[in-house]
Symmetry: C2
Subunit: 401 residues, 2 copies
């Protein structure tokens, strides 16, 4: 590697624990009932979004399978993207009234994150939001299972949940993590994702890629982890382009779905100091302008990379060559990195995603307000690959315009 | 890909469940006691090999940590490579007499496999060997924890155990699998492996590589799984050569140790029909001639690949280019494959491993006897990438001479 790494340190100690059982393949949604039974479920709360899961017959298949296993259930529908606290409160009330003992999320990240918030809220005497603002730490949770329909968030195998709450002080989109809310099992049938609107697939691809980016861009030495992370990133991009042409390609759907879980179950971050600045920057965008998280990331991440690569080029150089397949011959470091970033932007554009924040939200974003909210939510510095001041964050938002 | 795949099929349904908690990094052996306590251990049976773990001070560190956590323990030492049933019987007796509730294996695959056999045997009223000959299936097990000292077998994160029993009918080296015996946790400090005799590291590398080979050589379409498997294989080879020069390189030790777990926790086989012919062929060699499993594999696997590639070249071609970095330009398929195999053999030789069975065991192996034993243990056909008859097996042993 021709660049002098100023921050490179050896691998950190780590714990990798990914106990979620992934049940993967065709028709696996019919195993929801028997799987819940195996995990000792009593009364189940089915959480889902809206009409599409009903119209497609998926909800019927799942309730049939619950009934066949002798399981009672209640349903909570209406989860929306960037899920809000209101529905969580409603779900907690329902869970307590109905004596629910197991959560089953049927959907993507928003549905799963809502189910997780209900799971910890239903067994807590205070306000579930206490967990999100650091006033309390979960000590118990209802167990959670998932039938995944949108590969993107990786929430089916992660211990994280992100919920948005609006109050007089502003819009708070906050992420918390606890081993208690890691799903016990995730049922994943790639065929269920074939009927997604194309943009949902594209947003999901941008989201899962960024889950790896947040871990890949690190000052920790990690040859093995970087090597398999690069392999996963390249495959996601390759199969996403396959799906753009042929949305019914089973193997490509399966790869994207499995990659989405690996991107966020911790495998790609072992031993590394992770970054997460791009996600935090994007959370403000989607909280303010209610855009899809993946759509926001396609604008924010290339801007972040452009900005940080000036002061910390190591991984940007590696990324350009090993992930974006830039041929380094005859190019200096700056050009290699610039070419890597432009190739990534082109990839997003090929999927139908814009990399311009202005274009995405259809107006001039209020950068000052987003940075103020960011400061309120997380403090004065952000990220680890290159720790960012609030002025740096402003610059990145500007580069993303 | 220029070769017509005659067998290629789409990804199979699969379950991936790797609940083992990996506790990885410097000084983590000191967490043995607190980790056992966290997992609810009562009386612990410490299982290990021989003098080196005592002399190095490792056993003392671990017993100190058990004592500090208020845990009682008994010790069973004396596990040898290719572990035998006799010590398992002894351990079962000890476990029952002492009321052991948790097994702690301190060592490599032989020690872990012995602990697993004791764990299922101690809670079974019959002969533990019933499980290995298919007369019974485990329905309960003592829980198992591991402090890993030899990265090789992957047993620290797998549900498998291999035990050898000698009786009047011959030598039976048999592998079984059960989720019940998958370790709850594996403590992995790469520094503990720095003092291994070099050949132990080399055997381990050959073993973990072959765990991926057995899954990689498959007729199932699996672009993503192949891509990250290739990345892991390349890294193992690269870091093994680093260690040959500098055995104290922490990052290389860490990569090899982590790769050994990923090679065998199921990640590299998801959705694929796996092969396992080379392992079975080698088990006869080490059962007959008591050689190290990894040493046997370095002879058997290249011979297996040479033989099967003639009838099923697809993955052999891919392996040569993507793993052994053969430049395909100007070479036909046969030459690409041949070059891939010779590069692999050269790699083994560079580690100090022979690829000649005759040289390994120091005499002419009794191929007929090994094939007869194989037939007795597994039946008339072997493997899935290319199903082998017993005559095919004979040919492969001959190619390995």
């Amino acid at each position: 590697m021709p660049i002098e790494g100023t921050h490179t340190i050896v691998m950190n100690n780590f714990i990798f624990h990914s106990p979620t059982e992934f049940i993967f393949g065709r028709n696996t949604e019919n195993e929801a009932g028997s799987t819940l039974k195996r995990y000792g479920a009593g009364k189940v709360m089915l959480v889902y979004g809206g009409g599409s899961a009903e119209k497609s017959g998926l909800i019927r298949k799942i309730t049939d399978s619950l009934t066949a296993s002798g399981l009672e259930y209640v349903a909570l529908k209406g989860v929306k993207p960037n899920p809000e606290a209101d529905l969580v409160y409603e779900g907690i009330g329902l869970a307590v009234r109905e004596g629910v003992t197991f959560m089953l999320a049927v959907g993507g990240g928003s549905v799963i994150d809502t189910a997780k918030a209900i799971a910890v809220g239903a067994v807590y005497s205070g306000d579930f939001w206490d967990f999100y603002i650091g006033k309390a730490t979960p000590v118990a949770s209802l167990p959670i299972g998932v039938v995944l329909t949108i590969p993107a968030a990786g929430s089916e195998g992660s211990c994280k949940t992100v919920i948005t709450k609006k109050d007089d002080l502003g819009i708070h989109k906050i992420s918390i993590g606890s081993e208690l809310i890691r799903p016990r099992f995730a049922i994943m049938n790639p065929e269920l994702t074939m009927t997604l609107p194309w943009m949902q697939t594209a947003y999901g691809v941008a989201d899962m890629l960024c889950h790896i980016f947040e871990r890949y861009f690190s000052n920790t030495e990690a040859q093995l982890v970087n090597a398999y992370s690069e392999a996963i990133m390249r495959d996601i991009m390759d199969q996403a382009l396959t799906l753009k042409v042929n949305p019914d390609d089973y193997n490509a759907r399966a790869d994207i779905m499995w990659a989405g879980s690996l991107a966020h179950n911790g495998l790609c971050g072992v031993g590394k100091v992770e970054d997460w600045a791009s996600h935090r920057l994007e959370h403000e965008v989607s909280a303010f302008y209610n855009v899809a998280h993946g759509a926001g990331l396609a604008c924010i991440f290339p801007a972040w990379l452009l900005y940080v690569a000036k002061r910390n080029p190591d991984m940007a150089w590696k990324f350009a060559i090993n992930v974006m397949s830039v041929n380094p011959q005859g190019l200096d470091t700056d050009h290699i990195i610039a070419h890597g970033i432009s190739t990534l932007k082109q990839f997003y554009n090929d999927l139908g995603l814009t990399t311009s924040l202005r274009e995405l939200i259809g107006e001039e974003p209020d950068i000052d307000a987003m940075v103020e909210s960011l400061r309120h939510n997380i403090g004065d510095t952000l990220g680890n690959y290159m720790p960012l001041s609030m002025d740096d964050c402003k610059e990145i938002y500007r580069l993303a315009l």
